[in-house]
């Protein structure tokens, strides 16, 4: 996996044009996450309709990996149930090696089949100091939904 692949177009696209930046009106839960060592910051606000995530906003600043991951995540979890989001979070963390697993998470022959665009972040695994950048939004969302 080369650097070019890590910064492939999809990550840059989400970095430059982050999705779901509009504030959520009357959020049911919010959480702030940061990596104090590098200064990445993400604030997530969600609205729930029953157990379905009906609206999400992502704000923050930081490197392309942290902000693109947050943007892609916001698209992926919108409209999903809390259970589905928990499963997706686990799959993502397995893909990034944050949760250790023997499972092969991403099917090389069917790119995008498991996690969609988020699979573009898989290359970050090769740069261990950057994994926490990719993971920040997910951990912050977990915190918001845990409230």
């Amino acid at each position: 996996m080369s650097l070019e692949e890590m910064y492939r177009a999809v990550i840059l696209d989400h970095y430059r044009s982050p999705r779901n930046r509009e504030p959520v009106e009357r959020p049911d839960a919010t959480a702030e996450g940061s990596n104090p060592l590098c200064g990445d910051e993400v604030t997530i606000a969600v609205q729930l309709d029953g157990d379905t995530l009906s609206a999400i906003s992502v704000q923050g600043q930081g490197c392309s990996i942290s902000q693109a991951s947050a943007s892609m995540m916001s698209q992926a979890v919108l409209g999903k149930t809390e259970k589905e989001i928990a499963e997706m979070t686990e799959t993502f963390k397995k893909m990034m090696g944050v949760i250790e697993t023997e499972e092969v998470v991403v099917d090389e022959d069917r790119p995008g089949a498991t996690l969609g665009d988020l699979e573009a972040l898989q290359g970050v695994r090769k740069f261990p100091v950057r994994i926490k950048c990719a993971d920040l939004a997910w951990t912050t969302l977990e915190e918001a939904l845990g409230q």
């Binding site: 650097l3 070019e4 910064y7 840059l12 430059r16 060592l37 590098c38 200064g39 990445d40 910051e41 600043q61 930081g62 490197c63 392309s64 990996i65 740069f127 100091v129 950057r130 950048c133």
Partner: protein, 408 residues
């Protein structure tokens, strides 16, 4: 004439490759690399002379003590001080804390003010915030001019009789700016304030004479000047060191301990509680001797040459902004920059692929980052072992980054 290639060859780590490229180490403001002479001195000490200092009545312990005290004399000579005016600490940070708890806590009260500069490292901010919490004293910050220098007009505006302590870096670890410390000290003394200077980025790179600076305390660290980690120094005016209380208590800093109290050892030992980092002190002594053999004037001139070269090459990179003085005048070789909308952490990762090691972040100076209105910067910092080709590697790697991020 100094053979700078031979100097570089004294640093074994610089022959490493990173990601298939020669290591271009541009992070000396964070920590410097070590020459063979320092590594050898540490190994030699542990191999032949190791015993606890100022304790044992046997010959080996005496040799160790002499080596430790010889290192103190060497460090003192290097900054133009007397031997007993040098307190060995764990680093610059603990030197600041020694003054914070040994002097400020006992001398400052509500209505007093500490004046700092916005470009201070957290080591010269947070100890004073802790003292402010304990004493109720205020803290104010002197701002910057648009070209990244200290705003002396603001300094004079904020300096009044309530100011009891002024804290200023001699050189900024982020901007590279060399501050007019002599002028600051003179003006501060004019209102009855004392001055503590952060020499962490100045002592390794320029000739410093504590008495010429006019300050009252100077803090610096060993690992940024070719020495090992875990050792630094506090210099203080002898009458101040005499009047200060120890910030830490323990073994080795007493003359007597009774059940109802203790009396302190003489300066500087009263500030050196516990077993001191004596092997590290010996390493620092060797580092100072290495720097002296080359000559601080030569080192300063070489670094100015490299800084000029770096600033010139960086000025040719479209989209690159240098945060700090744009010329090598009154400046050290810590150069902070941003490149278009590429986040500094992305830059650091991309540059690493070409063996170029730079720092990215707020450089332990968040108030400064906020005042520059950037969340983070990239920083390339130079030392005597760098060469023009390290800077060329940086410039080439910056082109890679622009291509990856599709920046024109």
């Amino acid at each position: 004439m100094i053979d700078w290639d031979a100097v570089r060859a004294d640093f074994p780590i610089l022959s490493r490759e990173m990601n298939g490229y020669p290591l271009a180490y541009l992070d000396s403001a964070a920590t410097s690399q070590k020459p063979r002479a320092v590594l050898d001195a540490i190994i030699e000490f542990y191999t032949t002379t190791n015993a606890n200092v100022h304790r044992g009545a046997y010959a080996l312990a005496d040799e160790a003590t002499q080596a430790y005290e010889a290192a103190r004399s060497t460090v003192a000579r290097f900054v133009g001080a007397q031997t007993d005016e040098i307190v060995f600490t764990r680093g610059a940070t603990s030197a600041f804390n020694t003054v914070a708890y040994g002097w400020a806590l006992r001398n400052l009260r509500e209505d007093d003010r500490i004046l700092l500069t916005i470009m201070e490292h957290h080591a010269n901010i947070v100890p004073w915030q802790l003292i402010s919490d304990l004493t109720g004293c205020d803290i104010e910050f002197v701002g910057l001019t648009p070209d990244g220098r200290l705003d002396m007009e603001d300094f004079y505006h904020l300096l009044d009789d309530d100011v009891k302590l002024v804290g200023a870096s001699m050189a900024s670890n982020v901007l590279g700016t060399i501050n007019p410390i002599e002028e600051i000290a003179e003006a501060a003394h004019g209102v009855g304030a004392l001055v503590i200077a952060d020499g962490a980025q100045a002592v390794p790179h320029t000739r410093v004479n504590v008495y010429e600076t006019g300050v009252d305390w100077l803090c610096f660290s060993g690992h940024k000047m070719l020495g090992p980690t875990g050792i630094g120094a506090l210099w203080g005016r002898p009458e101040l060191l005499e009047s200060m209380e120890p910030a830490e208590g323990g073994g080795e800093m007493i003359t007597d301990v009774r059940l109802d109290g203790a009396t302190w050892a003489a300066v500087p030992h009263k500030f050196e509680a516990g077993t001191p980092p004596f092997a590290q002190a010996v390493g620092l002594g060797a580092a100072v001797e290495y720097l002296e053999a080359i000559g601080m004037d030569n080192i300063e001139a070489r670094e100015r040459e490299l800084t000029e070269y770096a600033l010139k090459q960086m000025a040719n990179v479209d989209g690159l902004t240098v945060h700090g003085p744009p010329t090598a005048e009154k400046r050290v070789g810590a150069i902070s920059f941003t490149l278009a909308d590429i986040h500094p952490h992305d830059l650091a990762t991309i540059l690493d692929q070409r063996g170029v090691a730079i720092r990215a972040g707020h450089h332990c100076a968040r108030p400064l980052a906020r005042s520059l209105d950037v969340p983070a910067t990239a920083r390339a910092s130079l030392y005597l072992y760098n060469r023009e080709s390290d800077i060329d590697a940086l410039i080439e790697a910056l082109a890679d980054a622009k291509e990856l991020f599709s920046v024109a």
